[in-house]
Amino acid sequence: MTRGPLVAKRDLLTLVLDTLVPAAEEFPESGALALDHVLAMAAASAEVGLLLSRALEAIEEATQADGARGFAGLSAGQREDVLRRVERSHPEPFEALVRHAYDGFYSHPATITRLGLEPEPVQPRGHRIESAALPDLTRVAARGPIYRRA
């Protein structure tokens, strides 16, 4: 029930995601990386699907209220203005949208790699920690016991 409307608004959703996390430096915009995750979350949970649908509906309404023909026709700055209004008018749906956008973007292997991390699972590889010398604990111990003898 909830996946349909979201999938039907796939193009709008992609543009919204791109506005939330635009391309910068070597990082791509989030539409390409987070879209599948956001759609999957909407499909997996009716509650999430409803929230995200409400967010997109509010964005469409806010766009129309500006007299614009569509979100796609707005400049980057105008898109941000629309989203800021929706953030104020529909905080819960908008918060869900941002959270799932970030989740999708920052769990994508392409993003992980650009952050300088390994995109593979953390097991079995783990992380190598260079053995740094333990700071001198004798100075802490030399200050003496700090517990009360009961």
Partner: protein, 532 residues
Amino acid sequence: MATNDRADVLVIGAGASGAAVAWRLAGAGIGVVCLEQGDWVDARAYPHWRADWELHRHTDWSAEPNVRRLPQDYPVNEQASAISPLMYNAVGGSTIHWSAHFPRFRPSDFRVRTLDGVADDWPIDYATLEPYFDLNDRMMGVAGITGDPAYPPKSPRQTPPIPLDTLGVTIAGGFERLGWHWWPSDSAILTRDYDGRRACVNCGPCDLGCPIGAKASTDVTYWPKALAAGARLVTRARVREITLGPDGLADGVVYYDQAGRERAQKARAVVLAANGIGTPRLLLNSRSARFPDGLANRSGLVGRNLMFHPYAMARGVFDRPLGGHRGPIGCSIISQEFYETDLSRGFVRGYSFQVARGLSPIASANGGSIGDRVPWGRQHRRAYAERFDRTINVAIIGEDLPEPENRVDLDPALTDAHGIPAPRVSYTLSENSRRMLDHGMARAREVLAAAGAREVAFNPLLRAGGWHLMGTARMGHDPAASVIDAEGRCHDVPNLYIVDGSAIVTCAGVNPTSTIQAVALHIADGMIRRRS
């Protein structure tokens, strides 16, 4: 109703304390049956083996049962609580998803009334528990280093301390500059192979479980030994109520098995190890003509005096990478500089600092325990880059005082999948705790600044921070002022024992699992002694 063979001792719950008791009793030749509502966690099922592991922290591997909603979980009505209770239902219990920060309570923590004039003294002391602390350390395997001046001398730790890495060395420098106490955390995480278990590979998210058994969850520490000693563990077995014989003693339980069938398990003694919420829930649901207000509740204290350890969080942002995604998430450094009472601070008792690792990629975007999401839009990339891998989190873990208004009772409407009433939690942060956390945040700002942080942000009370569930069936000499005695026996039902966090009288300013397990082993030895 099908009835199982009578056990010498029935243990309810296979977590931190239930596992310890089952092992100790089975090793003494006592016939132990344990009923656990969860199941074994398959090491291959942990999210660490998947590239999208971090997404699972807020869904199926959440520490909050109300978010996770797995079949083995029960709902908790927390609408009247400032803190959300966290727990895990499985063999290993909440040690599956704990961070394994492993400090002990200190000697003064058992004499709060005598020393500071508030709350109550325990009926046992640090010296009584010391051999059990050591025994438990050997069973769990503790990484650390002796000599900490915040404690009486301890026995050697099983493996060297968790590596501090750049992050730990940086914050240690802050403590040093201020001349404040700090020490590498005692952590129930192996840094060397030990007792047939592997060393940690520093993958990071211990809070999602440990797929290689380096972290001491009791499914990999106590349970293999308990089963080898003859204990029997029944999983997917949800206990509905404890039953009484005509003599007024506990004679077993009624539970639902894996197929949902009602069964009875009879026993000569019953041990409750279902955590500080599950235990009072079960007692309150075990009403009878003899105990119309709940089993073992003539004092009216079952479910009351709930303590959580309120957490405030501070996060410093630094100008250089700190490698915070490497290494056990909850463990690097502890400070007990402000642990003992100093009334000039404006509150009684005290707190610890627990310095955890940095934030993983998604947590960095969503603000982690501070909750201040990185702004979206054209400034996002720069703001994210300033935060990712450049943060140190300092948790202020305060000592809650027992207050009867903070409590667990039964929800009149909400039930679990078997129709058993769900627990309802009421908890308000006290003025003393508020002052304590405020003091801690101010000191955290100082130490982060001394370590080089260029900005510090706070969460004054971590809502999703109810890791420690304590005090709801407390220990004491006076049957009118406590639920169990110094040997863990219910005053009202002397063959019914409580060994989990419910037994805690005062909760100290440190994580409680080490102390809960030591108390459980002490109680088990009393059972063995009386039998012989």
